[in-house]
Amino acid sequence: MRKKCLIFLSIALTICFSIATLSSSSFAKEVAYLSLADYTGPIAGLNVPADMGLEDYIKEINAKGGVDGIKIKFIGIDTRYDVARAVSAYKRYRRTKRLLMVNSISTGIGKAVARLIERDKRAQLVPGDGEFQAHLGRNFIWGPAYQDAFAASLDWIMADWKAKGKSGAPVVGFVNWDSSYGREHLRGGKEYAEKLGIKLLPPEFFPPGTLKHDVYLTRLAKAGAHYIHAGGVDPTPTNVIRDAYALGLTKKLQMTCGYWGPTALGIGVHAKALEGSVITSFYERGTDAIKNKIPTDLWKKYRDCSLEKYNEVYAMGMSWGLTYVAGLKDALKAVGYEKLKADDMYKAYQRITGLDRLGIQGPCAYSPTSRRGSLEVKTYRVKNGKIIPITGWRKAPDAVSLHKF
């Protein structure tokens, strides 16, 4: 009888422990990545292909057995570019076991979530706000800061001006969204223009969603601009240049853009108007992007056998994945899976300095004193409906340090 009781008790305990084990969802070793993205909102045109690149890279890693047997769980949330939704989504997922990284696809979302990231001892990726470099914290930007890339555009402008045999310095106009993103370029970019002796005209800001940009462009042209730098996230810069073309300005002055300038998205619609435009980017564009076999093979495997709908930001998304995997490997080496916490990933991201990203963008520049994803930029020109490189990779100037934040 006693024996029967013991057997019964053993079975009961086994059931209890099984329930406890199942409820903790620890079937397999897993780490998570949360993307606070925009899949159906205003910037979905670029965010969708970027997250496709990341998701496909994660699929590929998992299909090969994961990182040291650990699978990566991709959690993609459609915030529709809305801060309240992003904060609520972060609240929902912040207690996910081993949630090691959050990517906030908007400067506004990044700034709102930053407080919670700090409290949770986690790290997040954010677009390009120089403030995150000026005040080092747990926020890592994707590439060089916006002001760094703008300063690199100014370097190109100066070189182009001199190459045309002109003396002195040119007059440059700046037109961008009326938002913290739009103004960020000038927090250090303005100081850099002064340093080069470039006359930067009073900037023109317009609300996102503006249909026509004639009034801003005309004002800059009348003020004597030799170059106009158009901001916004593609297709906005494409549409600004479309309007400049319609006004006949592209024959009289040079249009330039930052790293959200025309991609395959804009070229597909307004190739003629974009002809001659110059883009300075931290990730491969146009013909360079098409030639990079690793991301394009991934695209062909998971999305489409042709490259007709391929957008270069797909590779940029893959680059987020490459960085995450390198960070994970480093963190695992430091503490192992059982002790792995989000804070370990934050520390690991500061140790992966110099990580090669397969030519998609420059080597990783994250370090204890740097939150920049990379330092290099490359300049491209739209020629015969294609985006072709006109410079090699070069280090963007540190414009962040020129501004008092």
Binding site: G41, D82, V83, S88
Partner: protein, 164 residues
């Protein structure tokens, strides 16, 4: 008698395990009762909500904490970008040193979650694709993201007045 003892022991162990699981998922926090007011508590959907948005006032939260205001979606209501069973964040605020907060819905939130507009490639709201949420009484929760305190209220969406 022995069987009875074994069964009682089994029930006791099960109770302990389930108790531990429940504690894992519901982290109730002590502190004053949080309260929430929705202003206005009743409204109809119109573009006027962009200029004069729905606002939330709360009290009883921890000082200087972020507050997430969420709308609970009734079963069957499909919303663009939201997985069924998920609440949608409609405003965000920060409490003052006394634990009080005020937060208004931003235009993007009103457009996305009340009107459910589409977006054009020019980043303009596309009202042709809009699917406004139906009239009804919606539960609104405000959660303190440090204290986990939750306050609840309701927002009644009524049909727009008939044009005369």
């Amino acid at each position: 008698m022995r069987y009875f003892k074994v069964i009682m022991l089994f029930v006791f162990i099960m109770g302990l395990v389930l108790g531990a699981l429940v504690c894992q998922t519901s982290q109730l926090s002590a502190g004053p009762q949080a309260k929430l007011e929705v202003i206005p508590a009743e409204t109809f959907l119109s573009p006027a909500l962009i200029r004069k948005p729905v606002t939330f006032k709360g009290s009883g939260f921890a000082p200087k904490e972020m507050i997430s205001v969420e709308m609970v979606l009734p079963p069957g209501l499909k919303m663009k970008g939201i997985t069924e069973g998920e609440d949608v964040g409609i405003a965000v605020g920060t409490s003052d040193e006394n634990g009080n907060f005020t937060a208004a819905m931003q235009p993007t939130a009103t457009l996305n979650w009340f009107f459910q507009v589409g977006w054009t490639p020019l980043t303009r709201p596309n009202f042709k694709e809009a699917r406004p949420i139906p009239p009804g009484v919606y539960t609104i929760n405000a959660t303190g993201l440090d204290s986990d305190r939750v306050a609840t209220s309701t927002l009644k969406i009524v049909p727009p007045p008939k044009k005369k």
